[in-house]
Amino acid sequence: MNYKETAVLYLVCVLTFILSGFLLFSKNISRRLYLLTIIAILCIEGAYIGIRWFDTGHPPIFGTFEATLCASWMLILFSVLIDRKAQFARIVIPIAALTLFYGLNFDKTGKPLVISEQSYWVYFHALFAWIAYGFYIFSFAGAVTILVNQTTPTPLFTKEGERGGVDLFTYQTLLWGFFAQTIMFALGSYYSIRLHGSWWVWDPVEYLFAVSWCLYAIPIHGRILYGWGPQRIAWLILLGMVGTILFYWGLIYFPWATYHIFDTELKIH
């Protein structure tokens, strides 16, 4: 990574950090400024991803740094697409910033893909993983909003963030996240039969996928079958999200290797 690329990356980090600070500590931030800033971050980070893609010859899916780059960019993209009114920005943008900062701790060298990763099936598998991550983070933000508003008399966000709207938004993003996660699994499973000769590999990443898939299916079924209220749904989403984040990002710290490649410095495929 040359100094120009490093400068672009750190510019993205600084912008995301400043925006997160404003969102967390300032009561009034103009929507226009918010929108302009996230569009700027989206473009600069997108350009950085594009340069890196060109340099390494593959989309950024290899190693924790590239994963966090994609995850944070996806959150910013979703903010532009579905949260222009900054209803959930106080939660989503700091998570995007944290994701990005977490990735900075890892090796940023651009590496060519190992042969097991060289496939469009893997690229789309990773893409849908990040789409699911984006929806689930918004669903998590909705869940936090529901739970905070339950105890706070004045709405934390804007008028559109009232209970009914947030409840529906949370549920819809949960469903779309579930859909994207299922696509991710189907693609990964098909690729697994090409690579390992079996649809399912007894691997912790697949276990954790199944845990989070079941956890997210519980509120969906609860709402459809029993009409569970927003609070209960919100708690379950929180549980699903906390588990997913802790285990997914934390998996590399456990000593045993997985078939999924996260970070070549820490894990041997």
Partner: protein, 330 residues
């Protein structure tokens, strides 16, 4: 009794309960992995899974017939699990898996004795795919000097009778011949050894598939009471009197040989191409090194079933989502 059975196994409580049980089960497997039980014993995996999956299918089946699922999308999504299950059953019953090891230039005819292992011992003729091929060339590429493959292609011609088609066998499959998927799962160096019996003058040339990759790895072959331990230096260079590898590519490779006879070391040295060592009444020389590739040949009649099942799952979910959005907008 029957009504009670149907109402219990088709109940909503069981649906939610099974999802919780599913999450706990996979969390339990994760814990086993953290405890380094990889893979855990069969009963630890399959017994709890059967306890969950049997009522799950009963629950889904009863719900499909008792119309618990109100929307087409829901029906399609849950029916997808059955289609996947049928595909998996077909795979378990009729899937053929065979492994062969070929060196560059070798021919595979698809006969029983061409496989080093295969899973359908009794039904070989019926289930084995009609595949034959010649492995023309193996092309490995690495990222710099690291053990990080950026390419490992097995270039083949098929069928072996006519060699009219060309294809590439890769790690992640792709190549399908007569319904059989081919991928490679192992790679290494195969030294070519020339053995000459001094008494009879009989000469035998053998390409020996050994686990000598990456360079520096040691493997052995047995010749009567002799054990010949070998290491390959694929691209050798002598630095301060010590042999080193410049790269993992084959550039004038040499062998480091250590021979024992009845467990006693009798020879240790470096063998260059054409050099001879005497082992009892046999002269052994090394004439070159080839690559070998382990190729997996699989035919799975259940594959299409699983793919259709996945499509049903996704179509069901999408239908449910789109319908819901339309309903909310209206």
């Amino acid at each position: 009794m029957f009504k009670g059975f149907i109402s219990f196994f088709g109940s909503r409580q069981l649906s939610i309960g099974l999802l919780i049980a599913g999450a706990i089960y996979f969390f339990y497997l994760t814990i086993l992995w953290f405890l380094n039980m990889r893979p855990p014993a069969h009963f630890m995996v399959w017994s709890p899974l059967l306890v969950i999956i049997t009522p799950f299918f009963a629950n889904v089946l009863i719900s499909l017939f008792t119309r618990h699922y109100a929307y087409t999308g829901n029906i399609l999504f849950h029916a997808g699990f059955f289609i996947i299950a049928i595909g998996v059953m077909l795979s378990l019953l009729y899937r053929f898996e065979g492994t062969t090891v070929l060196t560059e230039g070798a021919v595979f005819w698809g006969e029983k004795n061409n496989y080093i292992t295969y899973n359908r011992k009794d039904n070989f003729e019926r289930l084995a795919p009609k595949v034959s091929l010649k492995l023309d060339k193996i092309v490995p590429e690495y990222w710099g000097e690291r053990l990080h493959f950026i390419r490992l292609d097995g270039e083949i011609s098929y069928p072996a009778e006519t060699l009219e088609n060309k294809g590439v066998v890769r790690l992640n499959g792709g190549l399908k011949v007569n319904g059989a998927r081919m991928r490679h799962s192992g790679f290494g160096f195969a030294p070519e050894i020339l053995l000459e019996d001094v008494k009879s003058g009989l000469i035998r040339r053998q390409t020996v598939v050994m686990r000598l990759f990456p360079p520096g790895s040691e493997d052995y072959l047995e010749l009567g009471s002799h054990k010949i331990y070998m290491q390959i230096f694929s691209d050798p260079v002598a630095e301060k009197g010590k042999l080193q590898n410049r790269s993992m590519n084959l550039v004038e490779p040499i062998l480091r040989v250590r021979v024992t006879w009845l467990g006693q070391p009798i020879y240790e040295g470096v063998l260059k191409k054409g050099e001879v060592i005497r082992l009892g009444t046999t002269n052994m020389s090394f004439t070159g090194v080839k690559y070998w590739l382990q190729i997996e040949i699989e035919r799975d009649p259940g594959e299409m079933g699983v793919i259709i099942g996945f499509i049903a799952l996704l179509a069901g979910l999408l239908l449910r989502l789109v319908k819901q959005e339309i309903k909310q907008k209206a």
